[in-house]
């Protein structure tokens, strides 16, 4: 092998340079997204001062004009957009509380986005967005991960089975079903499932939240079971669309692979069917599915806004929804940026998987 692999893959240094370039690009994209979201958010009607002294949900009611003006000044809401964005980026505090250099009254400093500090919630100034976000992620990430794994675990064998029996009754039936699944909106499916399995229907499953109200008194097994029962419907709702999509893509990719010359050649060499299908065909059909994995992650995170709101789960999606409702700029920024980071991570992950599986991309 000596030297040959390097000849084929170019100089070894190329890998490090490409890696550095892709990391820098992603950092640029990240801040680009932050700027874009910041501008769009400020262009939207209303601002956080509307909810001063108001409970969640009753946007735009009573609060004295004085209190509102104080709030606006404190949070720089009347400053130029540039100043507000620079303030958000940090690390200097450009608000009236900030450093004298920037027109402030004391030398208060804060972290800002550059220090991965998302600030405090506007409505509850004692709550740091980062720590709240961490609590919310602990709900959303496991649910999303389970949904993705479940979707792949079910969709891939289904898609392969359809491709192998292309045109059969099984294939036509499954394809129709998958198309139907893919077309059904998640909120509709969620409501339907709640209606059927919830208290008004069969009453098999709890409808809202993640825990029973008495969960604190449960033992380990009972509370795990309780959690599973609560998570079942949300996971189903998060899974079925992705499952349908992955299965359809798997079917298409497998049909193409099964018709390729190398698969026909493998068959003509009398190899066992399982080897022909999985080793020869599937190893090539895999690549579109890896690309899919990168785009699925952000789609599921986006979908979690809906699912978590409907099922009242304390996840990132619901946090984003609350943030939008109250125009809590810091919450909106944080949840959007986390979602952007997940998108970038998803793309990076699918790139890495690609490189791992495809010898034509792999570097020596």
């Amino acid at each position: 092998m000596q030297g040959s692999s390097q000849r084929a893959f170019g100089v070894a240094g190329g890998g490090a340079r490409a890696l550095a370039r892709s990391v820098l690009t992603r950092i640029g994209v990240f801040f680009g997204v932050s700027l874009l979201v910041f501008c769009v958010m400020h262009a939207a009607p209303g601002d956080p001062s509307l909810s001063v002294g108001v409970d969640i949900g009753d946007v735009g009611s009573v609060a004295s004009d004085g209190a509102r003006a104080r709030f606006r000044a404190e949070h720089l809401l009347d400053a130029s957009l540039v100043r507000q964005y620079l303030h958000y980026l940090g690390p200097f505090d450009l608000s009236p509380r900030g450093h004298a250099w920037f027109g402030g009254t004391d030398d208060h400093r804060w972290g800002g986005l550059l220090c991965f500090d998302f600030g405090h919630e506007f409505r509850r100034p004692t709550v740091s967005v980062s720590s709240e976000l961490a609590r919310r992620l602990a709900v959303t990430v496991p649910l999303t991960a389970i949904a993705i794994l479940l979707a792949y675990a079910l969709a891939v064998p289904l898609g392969v089975a359809c491709a192998r029996r292309r045109g059969s009754a099984f294939d036509r039936g499954t394809s129709t079903l998958l198309l139907a699944c893919f077309s059904v909106p998640a909120y509709w499916a969620a409501l339907l499932l709640m209606l059927v399995f919830g208290a008004r229907g069969l009453d098999w499953l709890p409808m809202l939240g993640l825990h029973d109200k008495d969960a604190a008194e449960f033992g380990a097994i009972a509370s795990t079971l309780d959690l599973a029962r609560h998570a079942l419907l949300p996971v189903v709702v998060m899974t079925y669309g992705a499952l349908a999509y992955i299965a359809r893509q798997t079917r298409a990719a497998m049909i193409e692979a099964l018709e390729s010359d190398y698969v026909r050649a493998a068959r003509a060499r009398g190899l066992p069917e399982a080897r022909v299908v999985w080793r020869h065909a599937f190893s090539n059909a895999l690549f579109p599915l890896l690309t899919l994995a990168g785009s699925l992650l952000p789609a599921l995170v986006g979908g979690s806004v809906l699912v978590e709101s409907i099922f009242e789960l304390p996840g990132v999606g619901r946090y984003a929804y609350e943030g939008f409702l109250q125009r809590d700029y810091n919450v909106v920024m944080a949840t959007t940026l986390v979602s952007a980071m997940m998108t970038l991570a998803g793309v990076a992950l699918s790139d890495a998987l690609y490189a791992w599986f495809d010898p034509r991309v792999r570097r020596a």
């Binding site: 092998m1 084929a8 050649a265 003509a268 060499r269 009398g270 190899l271 020869h280």
Partner: protein, 335 residues
């Protein structure tokens, strides 16, 4: 070769018919191969000639038992080394495929899987068919690659197809097909992508490794076939129109179609004979012409040609090997 006592041929195809369901055609069925018969003897190279759509590749797939829905073998027999292959159970067929009958592809390099190492895809068939250990299979693969002009170290087996040159890929693909030392090789139009010196190497290699190996050389280029095959079978529209020694077919074709094939190459020495329709598609396999399928393009066709399908007749008087399916064979008309 002639004059010996009759023996079982390596491969005997009789009256093979492969039809495909064609729900959108008026007849509902595409008769891609419709009564094809020929024999390949041990050590013989037979050229199976036909234009695209004549059924030659479907014939090859039928021999390997790889006809899939909506296609099916509706009649005929394929006997290989005295054993009937039509209707053979799939597990038994799998032991024939690759081990006893190998397929070399139109573009042999396309037979290589781009994401597997050469070692994996070369060694898998010997391991599956011959029960070789990984080490023995590797040794065997390295040896064959060496014979095919790869310098003899096993590092080639660690490479992926994209790390080879085009010619190396072709030879690796040949090695892949031939590692189990098959008795019969189906070469599906190998000349389109394979350079002729390599073709000669392959035939030479096959002869050296296994004396009795037969080759069915499926091609649309009779010029290359002449350098390799002694006998040829000419297919047109799913049927055999003429068969015989290739040199005889070239010298004195009896079927107008065969003559058209050779006429398609201009000759400086021949004048005055009517030029027969240039090559083209034989038409729609779900609606072949009535009678002789060549009659719409044949300058000698008459009412009988449009009405009655001619049978393949062997002219016993002159040459046992020669057969022609024509109502008006070009008797003795030398080119």
């Amino acid at each position: 070769m002639s004059g010996q006592e009759p023996r079982t041929p390596l491969l005997a195809v009789r009256d093979l018919a492969v039809h495909f369901d064609a729900p959108h055609a008026a007849s509902g069925v595409a008769r891609a191969v419709d009564g094809v018969g020929f024999e390949v003897g041990e050590g013989e190279v037979l050229a199976l000639f036909g234009e695209s759509g004549s059924g030659k590749s479907v014939t090859a797939r039928a021999i390997l038992g790889l006809i899939e829905r909506p296609g099916r073998i509706v009649s005929g027999s394929i006997r290989f080394a005295g054993r009937e292959l039509v209707g053979l159970a799939e597990p038994d067929y799998r032991r024939v495929r690759g081990r006893e009958i190998a397929l070399v592809f139109q573009d042999p390099a396309a037979a290589l899987n781009p994401v597997l190492t050469l070692g994996e895809q070369l060694c898998e068939a010997p391991r599956a068919h011959l029960g070789l250990s990984a080490a023995a299979a590797t040794e065997r693969a390295t040896a064959l690659l060496g014979e095919l002009g790869f310098d003899g170290d096993s590092s080639w087996l660690a490479r992926f197809p994209h790390q080879l040159s085009g010619g190396q890929r072709q030879r690796a693909a040949l090695a892949q097909a031939l590692l189990c030392e098959p008795k019969l090789v189906l070469a599906d139009e190998p000349t389109t992508a394979l350079d002729p010196t390599l073709v000669a190497t392959v035939v030479e290699l096959l002869r050296r490794r296994a004396r009795g190996v037969g080759v069915l050389w499926i091609t649309h280029d009779l010029r290359v076939a002449r350098s390799i095959a002694r006998r040829a079978v000419v297919l047109y529209a799913g049927r055999v129109v003429e068969t015989g020694p290739l040199a005889e077919l070239a010298r004195a074709p009896r079927h107008p179609y065969t003559r058209a094939l050779f006429d398609a190459r201009p000759s400086a020495t021949r004048r005055g004979s009517p030029l027969i329709a240039p090559l083209g598609s034989a038409g729609d396999p779900s609606a072949w012409p009535s009678g002789c399928r060549f009659h719409p393009r044949c300058p000698f066709a008459d009412a009988a040609c449009a009405a009655v399908e001619p049978a393949l007749a062997f002219s016993l008087a002159t040459d046992l090997d020669r057969g022609v399916a024509c109502h008006h064979p070009l008797a003795g008309a030398e080119r």
